[in-house]
Subunit: 313 residues, 2 copies
């Protein structure tokens, strides 16, 4: 086994991403020691119980002491407060990173608190599930998923290269880009789709003419795919939209325009336009499968729930 990449990793926040990093780092022997901090005692207790941390601390300031890598894995809106707290306690030569879904806002919130002699290298692993909390993590979450680094003025080449090595060792493909570009790309591939899914699920929920139980009963016809992403962590997503406001509103505007165009085609009975549109979108799915970013198995290769299989037999 190769020597660990970091001597002591401090995980600040112990949700899906941090706990998956812990599993992956332990599996690969990538950190000699993992120290954890979470806001609630309950989460810290679980972290010890399931063994994702070697030690937990009751404050973030304590957790970062002597750490050569500090991972900020809290909702984007909580980054500034945490950064202010840990700033004075960071070790000289340490690297601070984060796993937030928005990058410019995190840079603005964290950078002022990074002392001289510490590198800040923002990161965003494009991986996740609809589950959250310390028990939701697993070692293979990042495998073949992208991790985007958006280096700042304080990111030394050495600190960036070492963090890249960690992500690659956890199975990720790593790309670098600037923060504003990251935020725009993510508004397209993630933030706007999530908002739309939340909205569609909300509409179904409000609809009194169609009873709630019917919406749930018959969800297999398309709706259930939306509910998966609309089940993601509410605090995390609130912060994403509040901090990537401009790009999200821009893409939402384009989405609405396009939706009105298709709505008009339906109203006017323009079958040709609809058919041409639906044919184009099919090709994009094919590209995603060819790029290895999804399974080609029908219906995501969904396995019927146990109860379901029994009922069907």
């Amino acid at each position: 086994m190769t020597p660990p990449i970091y001597h002591r990793v401090a995980l600040i926040g112990l949700g899906l991403i941090a706990s998956s990093m812990a599993h992956a780092m332990k599996q690969g022997g990538l950190a000699a020691e993992i120290v954890g901090y979470a806001k609630t005692e309950e989460t810290r207790r679980i972290a010890l119980e399931i063994g994702i941390c070697d030690r937990v601390c009751a404050t973030a300031a304590e957790a970062v002491q002597g750490a050569d890598l500090v991972v900020l894995a809290v909702p984007v809106g909580a980054m500034a407060g945490i950064a202010a707290e840990i700033g004075p306690h960071l070790m000289q030569g340490a690297c601070v990173t984060d796993v937030g879904s928005v990058k410019q806002a995190v840079i603005d919130a964290v950078s002022p608190h990074i002392p001289a002699g510490v590198a800040f290298v923002p990161a965003h692993p494009l991986a996740g599930t609809e589950h959250s909390g310390p028990r939701s993590g697993f070692a293979t979450l990042f495998r073949n998923r992208w991790c985007l680094l958006t280096p700042t003025e304080t990111s030394t080449p050495e600190a960036t290269a070492r963090l890249r090595a960690l992500w690659e060792a956890m199975g990720s493909n790593v790309d670098e880009m600037d923060a504003p570009h990251h935020d725009l790309v993510l508004a397209v591939v993630s933030h706007t789709p999530h908002l739309i899914a939340y909205t569609m699920v909300g509409v179904a929920d409000h609809l009194r003419r169609v009873s709630n139980s019917e919406v749930i009963k018959y969800s297999a016809s398309g709706f259930r795919d939306f509910t998966r992403i609309a089940a993601s962590d509410p605090t995390m997503w609130r912060d994403v939209f509040l901090t990537n406001k401009e790009a999200t509103l821009d893409i939402l505007g384009r989405f609405t325009e396009e939706l009105f165009m298709l709505q008009r085609a339906i109203r006017m009975g323009d079958g040709e336009q609809l058919h041409a549109y639906f044919t184009r979108t099919r090709a994009i799915r094919r590209s995603i499968i060819e790029a290895g970013q999804d399974t080609a198995a029908p219906d995501f290769g969904r396995v019927a729930p146990v109860a379901a299989v029994k009922a069907g037999e």
Copy 2:
């Protein structure tokens, strides 16, 4: 083995649904003979080659002769033409059914061509994948999925009960409702979500500032879920929107209102409203899993594509 439910089943159209019915009927011994018709010679040839039909015919009129069950499995827009063609050739005592995603429009298109002594029992299996064509079918597609029957004036109780028995034997749960209610429910759980997914994929495709390759590369962050349903059959979906126009436009209107409300909350920085909304939608996902209509496994239990696993190891 119990005796077959039908003596001769004529499948008019040999796509995903008809080929899955053929597999399920063969597996369960539910039809003594399966006769198929498809528009292209190529599809008819494949149907014989993979054994989903015992015989194929070059015309629909020929295929329905002597059949006690005729299944119209063509896009909704093609139903009227097929019904007009087969009407004079239907056997006395036969049952005609369909598998269209819209029911009132199919009833309007088909009913005038149903002769006295023939029952028309419209049906809609809420099952499918993003794949299409005769090779895409599989026997378990309908297992634990709902099939909705919307009986008409010509649906005798006997004909409806027998068709229900067939769907139940193929693994479905069967419900009955009237056609307008069906069309509204489906506009919520299926038609509008599909249109929205098509639109979001279209927006991403048009976006020139974010290159197409980035959208595909980083799709795992949410977008790829949309591309699956936006990869469904373009002809089928064109017809759905053209024939369930009123209900789809109604639900789209509600969706847009709701989206504007959330968009405004983002613009105004109203975090409380966003958080409350996202918390509500999470509960709906839980209900769907409890109802056995989806898997609780994270990320749909997606299995990483083979190429992906290799790359990650």
